[in-house]
Point group: C2
Chain length 235, copies 2
């Protein structure tokens, strides 16, 4: 009776794809990479999964399982060679090549991103800054100068740009996104607080600072037992 509906039929036997790395693992690989770099900088040549796990802030079993998806790079009884593992993870992520990035919307946030040196050091090369505000076009930020959005197609094509960063107001985000996609960009990082729709072949990730603060506020409210709900009082 509980199961009156149609049955689901046979279980879809999913052959473990040759290279099917779980999404949760992918998100941790950069963390491991950072931990390995830190160890390498301290001239540590070998590290156990426990050492690495501490550096990365995760459980050691999880770390070992994550690494096992990439291959068998450790030595039982010894641990992992720091530089070797670092290279393997970098290769897996795709950091053995440089990636060209365009930033669209060079306002407060766009300026900060354009000036950030931490991208280049991780293999991301900001090749163009775009803005629709004609007053801003031509202005220079760091090594680059701001180009018009109309040059997008040419820039993407000639610069092999595959990653686009959206730092425009929310109202413009979808339009900018569409233009990026049309120009051939297939990965997008969105800072605007807006829901963007993209074709299947395009990957999109969002960073929303307001949401982060709201999540903190939720827990903060629980901690302080502020169940009265009304307090505040900044006139």
């Amino acid at each position: 009776m509980t199961n009156a509906g149609g049955r689901k039929g046979g279980r879809a036997r999913v052959e473990r794809a040759e290279r099917g790395i779980p999404e949760a693992t992918v998100a941790r690989l950069p963390v491991y990479l950072r931990a390995l770099t830190a160890l390498s900088d301290r001239d540590v040549t070998t590290a156990s999964s426990e050492d690495l796990a501490v550096s990365a802030g995760v459980n050691s079993a999880k770390l070992r399982k994550d690494l096992s998806y990439l291959g068998t790079y450790g030595t039982r009884g010894v641990g992992y060679d720091v530089d070797y593992l670092r290279y393997q993870i970098a290769r897996e992520i795709g950091l053995t090549q440089d990636w060209s990035v365009v930033i669209v919307g060079i306002g407060n946030l766009g300026h900060a991103l354009a000036n950030y040196s931490g991208f280049a050091s991780r293999g991301f090369r900001v090749t163009a800054l775009l803005d629709s505000d004609e007053a801003r076009v031509g202005e220079s930020v760091g090594d680059l100068h701001i180009s018009s959005l109309d040059d997008l197609d040419e820039i993407v094509r000639s610069g092999s740009v595959s990653i686009g960063v959206i730092a425009t107001p929310a109202a413009a985000a979808q339009i900018v996104c569409d233009r990026l996609v049309a120009a051939g960009v297939s990965s997008i990082l969105n800072f605007a607080p807006a829901l963007l729709s993209v074709p299947d072949h395009v990957d999109i990730r969002k960073v929303d600072l307001s949401i982060e603060l709201q999540i903190l506020a939720f827990h903060e409210q629980r901690k302080t037992g502020a169940l009265t709900g009304i307090k505040a009082g900044t006139g």
Copy 2:
């Protein structure tokens, strides 16, 4: 034989806590809030779970289940009253009160955050900007001027600050974090690419743009079939 080890004993019967909202749900509440605000701005007074789900970019069953953790705010056969639901979610998150925020590290990113109007409109009030660089102290950014880190304790105490944002270089992040905690801040948003350790009663969230780009790069590499691994060639 497979199960030779010690058994785990009785199952921990977890009474569904009166207010045990799953973390995944908490993370989506701000998204629903934004969707509701957008609908309200368009003078929509009532919305079904399907309408809302589309606006928020989630599955409608998931949305209904999420909302059911908060209470019974819908009407069967009708849907949800937009403004009423919006208030209930805001109250649940804790946005019926203002939250004071301090930003530490007023460099590229800190400036952008300080100038961002989107925080205030969501109930977050930046009450102080702190930097260790004496040359910067006194400089004004928007309405505020930059204070010395030494004033942290006084600022936190007198301003009821509960949320701290770290936008310093990674090397300074842990020290700054410790000082925030010592001053009484119990929620921290960290932009520095560093692993921070905090006491149990402190919540910490991180935003790491490099990690986001690396995740995009991983998928991008798969898409372009760039399995050769060696290419790049920026001299």
